[in-house]
C-alpha cells in the first residue's frame, strides 16, 4: 500500500554518499550538509551546542532583568519609549486611520498595543497651523475679490487653534479613559485601553481633517459641506470601530450613550472649526462712505487707505 511505503524507512541519497566517504563522522541536520564543508561543520557543532545553551541562558536572564527595571517617569528613557517608531510605521498608522474598517480596531491592528506620542503631537500641531493659515488665506482670497474687506494677518487665531486642538486631543481621551475605567469597575468583563492608546486613536483620527481643511479653501459651499461631512464620517467611524470591542460588554444604553457622545463631540469640533476659521463672507461689503479708491482688478495687498480715512 502507498501508506506503508510512505511509512517505511527512507535513506536519503546524500547522507549515504557522505557516510560512505567519511565513515567515522556522524551525520548532522540536513540544512548543515554541504559537499565540501561537511566535515568541518560536523566537528564544530558538538562543541558549539554547549556554548549556544549557555548564551541562551544568559540572554533569558538578561531579558527578565530588563523587564523588571522599567525606567521611572522622571528619566528621559521613559519618554523615549513612546517615540520608538519608524517612518514606515507612522505612515502605516496614518493610512489605517484614513480607511477604517468595521471589525478592525485601530488599537489592535495598527498600534499592536505599542502606542506612540509622535503621531498625536505632530498631527495636532500641523492641524492647528493649517487651520490658522488656511483661515487667513480665505480672508486674503476674499479680499482679493472684494477690496473693501480689511485683510490682517490675524495672528491670534494661531493661539486659539492650537489651544482648541490640543485640548480636544488630550482632554477628551482623558475623560473617555476615566469613564471606561469606571465602567470596568462596574462590569468586570469589559476590555480596557490604556490612556496612551486612547490618545493615539484620537490623534491619528484627526489626520483626515488636514486635507479637508485645505480643501475648504475652495469657496464653493456645497463642496465644503460635502468634504466636511466625509471627513467627519471617516474620523468618527474610526473612533467607533475602535471603541466597539471595548464597550460591547457594557449595557446597551451605556454603550449607545458613550458612542453617540464621542461622535457628537467630534462633530462639534469640525463645525466649530469651520465656522470660526472660515467665517462666511458678509452678504454686502462693509464699505465706509468715504471710500473713493476704485478697486483695482487684481489687487492682493490690503488697501491702507480706507482704514486711515475711516479712523
Amino acid at each position: 500500500m502507498a501508506a506503508a511505503d510512505e511509512l517505511a524507512f527512507h535513506e536519503f541519497e546524500e547522507a549515504t554518499n557522505l557516510l560512505a566517504q567519511t565513515p567515522n563522522e556522524t551525520t548532522t541536520r540536513s540544512d548543515q550538509l554541504s559537499p565540501k564543508g561537511h566535515v568541518a561543520v560536523a566537528m564544530d557543532s558538538g562543541g558549539s551546542y554547549g556554548a549556544e545553551d549557555e548564551v541562551e541562558e544568559s540572554d533569558k536572564t538578561m531579558l527578565l532583568q530588563e523587564e523588571k527595571q522599567q525606567p521611572g517617569f522622571w528619566t528621559f528613557g521613559y519618554y523615549q519609549s513612546f517615540f520608538d517608531v519608524d517612518t514606515s510605521q507612522v505612515l502605516d498608522r496614518i493610512k489605517g486611520s484614513l480607511l477604517p474598517r468595521p471589525g478592525h480596531s485601530f488599537v489592535r491592528h495598527q498600534l499592536r498595543n505599542r502606542p506612540d506620542l509622535y503621531g498625536p503631537f505632530w498631527i495636532c500641531a500641523t492641524l492647528a497651523f493649517v487651520l490658522a493659515i488656511t483661515g487667513n488665506l480665505t480672508l486674503l482670497l476674499a479680499q482679493r475679490r472684494d477690496p473693501s474687506i480689511h485683510y490682517s494677518p490675524q495672528f491670534h487665531k494661531v493661539t486659539v487653534a492650537s489651544v482648541t486642538i490640543y485640548c480636544y486631543a488630550w482632554l477628551v481621551p482623558l475623560a473617555l479613559w476615566g469613564f471606561l475605567r469606571w465602567r470596568k469597575g462596574v462590569r468586570e468583563r469589559m476590555g480596557l485601553y490604556t490612556f496612551l492608546e486612547t490618545v493615539c486613536v484620537y490623534g491619528y483620527s484627526l489626520f483626515v481633517f488636514i486635507p479637508t481643511v485645505v480643501l475648504w479653501l475652495v469657496p464653493v459651499p456645497w463642496l465644503q459641506w460635502l468634504s466636511g461631512a466625509l471627513a467627519l464620517a471617516l474620523s468618527a467611524a474610526g473612533l467607533v470601530f475602535t471603541l466597539w470591542p471595548v464597550v460591547r460588554e457594557d449595557s446597551r444604553l451605556a454603550a449607545g450613550v458613550l458612542l453617540s457622545v464621542v461622535v457628537l463631540l467630534h462633530a462639534l469640533l469640525a463645525m466649530g472649526c469651520k465656522f470660526y476659521f472660515f467665517q462666511p463672507l458678509p452678504p454686502e461689503p462693509m464699505a465706509s462712505p468715504h471710500q473713493a479708491t476704485p478697486p483695482p482688478p487684481a489687487t492682493m495687498l490690503p488697501p491702507t487707505l480706507p482704514r486711515s480715512v475711516a479712523a
Binding site: F76, Y79, Q80, F82, F83, D84, V85, D86, T87, S88, V90, Y118, W122, A125, T126, F129, I133, N136, L140, Y151, S152, P153, Q154, F155, H156, K157, P296, A298, T299, M300, L301, P302, T304
Partner: protein, 236 residues
C-alpha cells in the same frame, strides 16, 4: 598564559621559564642616561592662554566672538558637509537673528486692533519654543546630537529667512500690486528652501536612518510657519 621574557643575548634558550627570570641577566650599560626632566610643554601653553583672555582688550574679545558668528553665517549660506556648526556651537547668532526678525515682524504700537500681525513676544516664543520642541523631538527619536548643538543649528538656519524679511520690507516700500506680491512670494519660497536644505545638511546625519523623515518634518513645519509670518507681513 604568560610566557617568559626572552633575554636578548640568548636566542636559543626558548624553553618556558618563570616570569622575569631573565631580568637579572640584563646589564644596563653605563653610557645610556636614564635621568632627565619630563616636561609637558602643552600644559604651560594652556595656562598662558587662559590668563591672556582675561587681560586682553574688550575689542579683542568682541571681535573674536563676532568672527566666530560670521564664520558660522558663511557655513549656513554655503552649506557644506562640515562640522563647524556642531563642534563650536554658540547661541549668539540665533539670538541676534531672532531679535532682528522679531523687531522687523512686529506690528506698530499704534494699532490697537486685535487681529494684526504677531507681536515681538509671539515671534520670540514661536522661534525659541519651536526650536526646543524640535530638539526634544529629535532626541526622543534617538538622535545623537546634543541639545544646544541642535538649538544652534536651527537658530543659525533662520538666516536666509531673515534676509528674505529684509528684502520683503524693501520691496514693500515700492507701490503695491500683484508684481509686488509675486516678487515677495518668490523670494520667501527660495529662502525657505535654502533654510530647509541648510538645516537638513547638518541635522539629518545625526538620526537613525529609518527615522530621518520623522525628524526632518518638524523642521519643515517650523520654517514654513516663519515663512508664512514673513509673507503675510503688512506695514501699517
Amino acid at each position: 598564559m604568560a610566557e617568559a621574557v626572552e633575554s636578548p643575548g640568548d636566542p636559543e634558550t626558548t624553553t618556558s621559564r618563570p616570569l622575569f627570570a631573565g631580568l637579572s641577566d640584563i646589564s644596563i650599560s653605563q653610557d645610556i642616561p636614564v635621568e632627565g626632566e619630563i616636561t609637558i610643554p602643552v600644559r604651560s601653553r594652556i595656562r598662558e592662554f587662559d590668563s591672556s583672555t582675561l587681560n586682553e582688550s574688550v575689542q579683542n574679545t568682541i571681535m573674536r566672538d563676532l568672527k566666530a558668528v560670521g564664520k558660522k553665517f558663511m557655513h549656513v549660506l554655503y552649506p557644506r558637509k562640515s562640522n563647524t556648526l556642531l563642534r563650536d556651537w554658540d547661541l549668539w547668532g540665533p539670538l541676534i537673528l531672532c531679535v532682528t526678525l522679531a523687531l522687523m515682524l512686529q506690528r506698530g504700537s499704534v494699532d490697537s486692533e486685535k487681529d494684526g500681525g504677531p507681536q515681538f513676544a509671539e515671534v520670540f516664543v514661536i522661534v525659541w519654543f519651536g526650536a526646543v520642541t524640535i530638539t526634544l523631538n529629535s532626541k526622543l527619536l534617538g538622535g545623537n546630537i546634543s541639545f544646544f548643538q541642535s538649538l544652534c543649528v536651527l537658530g543659525y538656519c533662520i538666516l536666509p529667512l531673515t534676509m528674505a524679511m529684509l528684502v520683503c520690507r524693501l520691496v514693500l516700500l515700492a507701490e503695491p500690486g500683484p508684481i509686488n506680491f509675486m516678487v515677495r512670494l518668490f523670494v520667501v519660497i527660495i529662502m525657505f528652501a535654502w533654510s530647509i536644505v541648510a538645516s537638513t545638511a547638518f541635522l539629518a546625519d545625526s538620526q537613525p536612518p529609518n527615522r530621518k523623515a520623522l525628524a526632518v518634518y518638524p523642521v519643515f513645519l517650523f520654517y514654513f510657519v516663519i515663512s508664512w509670518m514673513i509673507l503675510t507681513f503688512t506695514p501699517q
